[in-house]
Every structure is written in structure tokens, then in C-alpha cells.
Amino acid sequence: MNAEKILGLFKEITSGVLIEIAVVIVVALLVIWLSQRLLPWVAEHLHGKQRLLALAMIPTIRVIVFIVAFIWIVPLVIEPSMQNMVAILGAAGLAIGFALKDYVSSLIAGIVAVYELPYRPGDWIEVEGTYGEVKHIGMRAVEIVTPDDTVVFIPHLKLWSNLIHNANNGGPSLMVVVNFYLEPEHDANRVKHLLEDVALTSPYVQLAKPIVVIAFEEPWGTHYKLKAYPIDPRQQFQFMTDLTARGKQGLRALPVKFAQLSPEHVVQATPC
């Protein structure tokens, strides 16, 4: 009796329906596959905002294709009444929820990620101490590539409870901070102006963005932070290297001495 009731929720599945479902699934997968191959390739030939826009279209296209395919297929299988939908989807949801809690949580977080945009392809993010560029946002996990060229897969469910640090938040602007540690006896204003010029004359710098120098007095000397933006976030490490190399050269020429930590300020690597 119960089995008959349950079967009554479904439509009669004919071979025509099966073929239609198969075609919808194949076309959906094909569109997703094509978008995941074509758009990254196009993005590699673009720069700045255009590149990020092309990359951001990948997860959006996937969600749209999934929704369209779902709306297409469900009425082919289930009698589209509210009672039927609630019964079947509720039962399926409960079963999947228990068996694959984390997986489903990641899938849902993946959909939330598309709309809440905590990260987009092309963003530079840090999750639990791992920093890298978002290369691909999958259904279950986000794929980032670290500066050491290591691919790290981070499940979307980290979104629920972890802090996601996004350095450029969908834009081409990403701040780079370079530190200089100097002995305390020097003219701080001269150093500040020099470091500003070091950033201003760097070929990597985005001139449309501000350049800031901040100084902190520490027990061992003066700590300077030079903050500026590269033209392309992908150049951030070359930019840091350029600022460090030319900053050191300029400071030596001033001349300013670099701080040498005295033994009492050296942090012990292992507990005594």
C-alpha cells in the first residue's frame, strides 16, 4: 500500500523521458565543462577587471545551469504538485543530510559563496594560514594556488565557521606591505620620503592607488611599513622584491643602518 503511494508520486518513466533527462544532463555538463575550460583561457589573455570578470562568470554559469537543469528534470519525474514535491524532496534531503552532512554542507556553502562572494576566482585569500590565488571554485571546494605553486583544496564549509581573509575582494587592487627594520638614530621624515619614492618609482606600482609609509618605534629600533598596490595582483611578490631591493639600496645610500636585534630581543624558537 505504502509502496503504491510512493510510486504514485512519480510519473511514468518512458524511454522518451529517459532520453530527455540524459540529453539535459549531458548538455548541462557540456556547458559547465566548456565554461570551465574556455573562460580561464580567455581570462589568461586579459588583465585587471576584465580578467576577474571572466573568472567570476565560471561559478555563476554553473549555478544557473544547475538550476535550469533541475527545474527541467524534476517535473519530468515527479507529478508537480506541492504535496509530492515536499514529500520526495524532504525525504531525499533528510537521507542525504544524515549520510553526507559535510559534503552537502560544502555544496550549500558553495552556492552561498557564489552570491555572498567571500572569494571569487582571481582573488588572493587566506584560510587557516594558507595564502594563495583562487583558481577554481568547485561544487564542494575552492581551489587555490599558493606562491610556492602548490594547489590547496579548501572545502566551502570553512565558510560557516572560519575567517576568510580576502586581499583584493574581487578587484584588481591588492595592497602589498613591505617591512624595513632600522636602527633608531636617523631622520624619520627623510626615510619616509625615500620609501614613498621607492614605491612611486617602482615599475610595478599602481599609480592610481595611494602609497603610505607608517613608522613604529620598537625597543630595538624603528619599524617601517611601506604600503602600496601593484598594477596586477599576480605581480605582488615581484613588487615586494623590487621594493625591498631598491628600498635597501636607497636606505644604505642615505645612509641609515639596519637594526640588529640584540640577544635579549631574539625570540627563542623552542621553550627552554
Binding site: H47, K49, P203, L207, D232, Q238, D242, R246, G250
Partner: protein
Amino acid sequence: MAQSNHWQLIPFENFERPSAPASTVIQQAWSHVRTLFGRTDSDETEDVAQDFPHYREFALPPAVAAIDAAWQEATDAPRVRFVISAPFSGTGAVLRAWAEQHHYRTITPPSIAQLSSADTELWWQQQQVGDRPWLMDEFSSFWLRTTEHLAFVRALLPRLLRGELGQGVVVIDSWTYAFLQRAWPLALPHCYCFAAATPELLQQVGITASDKQLRKLTAQARGNLGVALALWAVAQSSDKRAPSLPSEADDSTAFILYSLLLHHGLQGEHLQWVLPMLAADQLDVQLLRLQQHGVVEYDDQVWRVTAYAYREVRDFLSGRGYWLDAF
């Protein structure tokens, strides 16, 4: 009947680029897509720049007359006027002709040592200007984009604005001007430039074509007369194409092209100072490759972007998010 003069010197803030016809916009978009998908013809090494048809020089007197017309009406003439010059626009040549006509003394740029020392007083004494008005026509040679060679221009600009150096005209390259707005963020007063080239002006300098073609040409050249003449010269030559960037163009190529535009051309040694992170051999390879493609030329020990490639180079830098000139 006297021919009307279509040259116009205008306040810099009034400059407007000619709008592009729809067909030009579509053509530019198509060209962008072709670049994106990798043109096969761009991989072929182009003939060297010298093989391009040399674009026509235009007559300077009408442009000189336009300067007189713009400035003679001013009763309270400012001590120093700035004229912003887009690359290849011919503004420098026009101002030199105007200055010669009005007996202005042409100022020579400071030496590299003077750029470092920022001793503007000694340099100015060497100019022996006296009470004569003067013309600084090579302002892009008054600085280099290094920490050591910015001080001179920063010391000079306040002196110019305070009127300490007397009456004169400074011709600033538009890319240098764009950088100075960032490096010395005080707006320069009394800035002028030539109005964007119109179809009538193109006809005046000798280009004979339909009005539609001329409008298309002014839009393609962004109102820059020299670039319009170069594009026209290439278009008239059946066996030549405008140079295109090599398919290997990368970040280093962008750094080099941007530096050359910022300084209106640089000697190889100075280019190395400006781009110290590029190894000398890497720099040579890039420059020679760009030269082979007709994008840069080497003349009188100075590397420069060619007029024929200027539009493509500007688009290339714009696509990469560089800080561009206002033209």
C-alpha cells in the same frame, strides 16, 4: 579666398577626444578579440620601422598663428605657461617655431649629475637667460623615474610657479604630466594643449579623403594629428600594415613601453636605471624584438615608441591597468 585655420590652442581642461563612429568602435572591439585569440599574422616579424612610409610633416605656421591667437588676447599674461603635448602631436615643434619667432631662448635640459644634485640654481645660471623669455621644450628630460632623479623636477616646479625664473613656456609631454600629477600633486596652472584634430584640420594638413574616413581617422588617432598622419600613411601603402606587438609581449614588455612613453624615449643605459629588475640581456632581447616588429625605433642612441605603433601600445598598457595620459 583665404583658407581658414583649424588649429586651436585651448585650455587643457577643455580638451575633448573626438567620438568614434559606431563602425570604428566595432572594428576596435573585433581587433581586441583577434588579439585575445592570438593573431597568426602578428607572429611574423614585421619589417623594421624604417621601411614604413614616413608620415608627412605638416606646415607649422598655421599652428604658430593659433598660439598667437590664443595668447595675444590675455592682458594679464601669466609668468609661466604649460603646454601639454601628446606624443607625436607635433606640439614641441610648433612651440619651438613659435618661440623662435618671438625670440624666446630655448632652455637645455639638466645633466644627469644635475638631476641627482637637484641644484636648479647652478643649472639656471648656466642657461644665461637674462631677462629674455624662455622655452623649455624637453621637460621629459628633466627627470628619470628613479629615487635619485626625481628631486630636480620637484625643486624646479615650485620655482617656476613662484615666477623666480621669469617669463616662459614649458612643453610637457602628456605621459610625464600624468606621472607628475602623482609625484608632485599640485595642479599646474595655465595649462594649454592643441584641440583634438578634426576632419577639417586633417584636410588642412593635406589628407584628402571623405568626411566619414576623416572622422574615422581622427577617432582612431584619438585626435592626435601625428598619429593620424602615421595611420593614414600606412593605410595608403598597400603592402604595409601598422606594426603590432609581438605575441611574446609580457609584463617586461609593458614596463619597457611604459618607461619609454613616460620619458619620451630613453637611452639604453637610462632605461636600465629605470628598470633595474630587468637583466641587461633580457632588456636587449625585448628591445630588439620590439624593434623587429616596428614598435620601437633606435635613433640617436635613444629608444622610442614609433608613431605607427603608438595606438596599439597605448591600448596594450590600458588593458593592463596602467596610469595613462589624458589624451
